[in-house]
């Protein structure tokens, strides 16, 4: 029964975990040669559905058809065998091996006699080259993967998927760490794959992208399918309201903060590393939200990590409240009232196996110090849990391990961690990355509220609407240099992009 209308059909998939119905009769029908966006807030069941497709979970009910034939997938090898592959949000290549070895890992071409087989490097090189040529990827097959950028590694993963003759490729948040140029390249590859009849299941939180690249959109909420629509019939607001289940009239809260006098002054900040930031000067006022825009690689993260004492400074000065300060470690930074929410929540933020409570308390233990080295457990419990609750963190109790919480709730716990240290300056690096729409709004409200209380905030963001919608001023960096600070009406998407691409 080839040439079925749908290349992939998942019918009435149900999956129950103790206490939660993660998927409740969800169907997903994907046409050949189409980009099918799968959307929903975190916890809506997107990843569970994909894990059912890959045989990582076995669904309690429901069937999967490929090309009209029932497919029985019990592990990810089965999935590959059926021509289904996945490009994960976080890529895990083998860093000290070459590009081609990463692609052909586990199925190297061999030559030899009988049981004595050697790896055929020549064939591997040639195969890789022709694969890259097909996909318009410009890479030397012998480069070590560890040296490549995220976007290059991603193209390798896509090439690998194609090399498996995949008919369905799932892409989970493929653009989360790409620059806009790289996104364009990715989209070119996707369109090319479409022409070959490959179907793409595209998971993303970025509305603009979805509307640009996808043909159809399936929206999920709370483990149920809300519906599938042609992208042409959708708008950002429609998608959001269907994802959240209510109308979102405004994506950003009323801010109501009034910037006061200058509080933080940075002059001529220069990194000892040649290709990092150079001569960065700016001021930050009390109660101000200073957005930082730029492309990936603009060294924005490096600047605020230097402010926080995580990176060395070669020259330049930092003044807080009119006084020059020396910040050589995060301990110093904390003492001067700085707090840092890092970009990589899982790598440098959370302690996955520790409880929500301990995750919230860890930066603020000095406050609970009693004589004889002991901690005031009661005070710690009350204050930390109150703060976590105040930020409306959704968690069964604060005793559960933080890794069981969704990204948005983890982020709230991290915010609570830093708010407990009573900072004056908050450095927020991509504070809503990988967080669903509903939780995003709550994080925005917390940020706005902090500014209103007179806290000074630096917010790095690669999402243009967020950057423009939340900032009082926008500072733009390009290749380690500050290229401009935009105020009020000057801060437009085109202006930010122009400054971001200056160097």
């Amino acid at each position: 029964m080839a040439n079925a209308e749908f290349l992939l059909e998942m019918n009435n998939i149900t999956k129950e975990f103790p206490g939660v119905k993660a998927l409740d009769g969800v169907s997903l029908k994907v046409r050949p040669g189409s980009v099918h966006a799968l959307m929903g807030e975190n916890g809506a069941g997107k990843s569970t559905l994909m894990k059912c497709l890959f045989g990582i979970y076995s669904p309690d009910a429901g069937e999967i058809f490929l090309d009209g034939e029932k497919a029985n997938i019990t592990n990810s090898n089965d999935a590959l065998g059926h021509g289904i592959s996945m490009i994960h949000q976080e890529l895990h290549p083998v860093p000290f091996r070459s590009v081609m070895e990463n692609i052909w890992l586990g199925r190297f071409p061999t030559k030899g006699i009988g049981p004595i087989q050697f790896i055929d490097h020549k064939k591997m090189y040639a195969d890789t080259e022709s694969l890259f040529k097909d996909l318009d990827i410009d890479l030397n097959p012998e480069t070590l993967v560890g040296k490549l950028s995220v976007s290059k590694i991603q193209s390798i993963e896509i090439a690998k998927a194609v090399s498996f003759h995949s008919r369905v490729i799932v892409m989970d948040e493929p653009t989360s760490s790409l620059t806009s140029v790289e996104v364009e390249h990715l989209f070119r590859i996707i369109r090319d794959l479409q022409k070959r009849g490959v179907a793409i299941i595209y998971i993303s939180h970025k509305m603009e992208e979805i509307l640009e690249i996808s043909d159809e959109v399936t929206i999920m909420r709370d483990g149920k399918k809300i519906g599938t629509w042609p992208s042409a019939e959708l708008t950002t607001d429609l998608i959001i309201s269907r994802m959240v289940g209510r109308d979102l009239t405004n994506r950003f809260p009323e801010r109501g903060n009034v910037p006061g006098e200058v509080y933080l002054k940075v002059e001529g900040l220069t990194s000892p590393e040649p290709r990092s930031f150079k001569d960065v000067s700016f001021t930050l006022r009390r109660g101000e939200i200073l957005g930082v825009g730029g492309l990936v690689g603009a060294q924005r993260t490096e600047v605020i990590e230097a402010l926080f004492g995580l990176r060395a400074i070669q020259s330049g000065s930092i003044s807080i409240d009119g006084k020059k300060v020396n910040i050589n470690s995060p301990q110093d930074a904390k003492k001067h009232g700085l707090a840092l929410l890092t970009e990589e929540r899982r790598v440098t933020g959370i302690f996955p196996v520790l409880s929500v409570h301990e995750n919230g308390a860890i930066a603020n233990l000095d406050r609970y110090q009693k004589p004889y080295l002991l901690l005031d457990g009661k005070k710690k419990k009350v204050e930390v849990d109150r703060m976590i609750e105040k930020l409306r963190t959704k968690t069964p109790t604060t005793k559960v391990q933080i890794m069981n919480l969704s990204g948005g709730n983890q982020q709230k716990v991290l915010l609570a961690r830093w708010l407990l240290t009573e900072p004056e300056v908050l450095l927020l690096d991509e504070p809503t990355r990988g967080i669903d729409v509903g939780a995003k709004f709550e994080i925005y409200s917390i940020i706005a509220d902090l500014a209103k209380q007179g806290k000074s905030i630096i917010m790095i963001s690669s999402e243009m609407p967020e950057l423009l919608g939340m900032s009082d001023r926008v500072m733009v960096m390009s290749e380690g240099r500050l290229t401009g600070i935009l105020e009020g009406d000057q801060a437009t998407e085109t202006e930010v992009m122009r400054l971001a691409a200056q160097h």
């Binding site: 103790p18 440098t348 196996v353 002991l374 901690l375």
Partner: protein, 335 residues
Amino acid sequence: MDVKKAQSFITQNAIYIVLVILILGIIVYEPSFMSVNTLRDVLIQSSTRVIIALGVAFILITAGTDLSAGRVVGFTAVISASMLQIPDYSRRFFPDLPQVHVLLPIAIAILAGLICGLVNGLVVSKLNVPPFIATLGTMLIVYGVNSLYFDMDPNQSQPIGGLREDFTKIGSGFIGSGQYSIPYIVIIAIVVAAIVWVLFNKTKLGKNMYAIGGNMQAAKVSGINVSKNLIYIYAIAGALYGLAGVLEAARTGGATNNYGNMYELDAIAACVVGGVSTTGGIGTVPGVLVGVIIFTLINYGLTFIGISPYYQLIIKGLIIIAAVSFDMRKYSSKK
């Protein structure tokens, strides 16, 4: 649903269930195993092991490991014994050493342990040597230093004996009398366990330890001075090994440079069986206690029913592998 609950209970506690079955098997085979005497012997044998295992637990929770523990135990056993021989013993380590207060050599031995730990901590945190390699190095160095000390004139590598009674009493004395007496050494282990429990749960150092093991990068960003804390933690662990060495000398009434050999492996095994994660961030004092006691019980029980020590090694090895594999299953297959 109840079936699922039972299943989850079994996976969560698989290792304990297996061990309880094993112990029940021993009791069925030899009912006289179940006695107050057994309990007492097991507790005595567990005491020094508990102290070493608690020291190792500190390190494991920071996602490190400590191969030097056993050799430090041997070193401190020799140090304390060498200074605590009776005055008229024929082969004294220090022939002219006056009768010092019993606590002085003990303090010196514990200090020596602490210094060994301090070195480990410095090498790990300041020279950025992975703990496995750092403590492999100190393991060899400590054994070498200990053997040189042990080989000094006039001792020349003779087992150190003739220990003072006020010292050996610590290892063999007890409160009360008869069957229901409580050995000092058990009391010491309980006190140490209580102190370590407080350190783990009620102090900044303990919280920092879990954080460093849970995610070292995040710990740095949170403003924790990681190297300072690691140095403290390794030093405390070293002091615990020091205390354990002293108690081993006191309990056995002697010491040689080979005391404590491979004790670190028993300690790591007991920690792992007791739920301490070797990837860091997880572990409790009660868990370590249970781990040690289970190992001692099985050791004692298998000897009791006359199983060859060679088989015992095989059984122990299987238990360690099973414990970790069950542990991995617990964390990886929540679905």
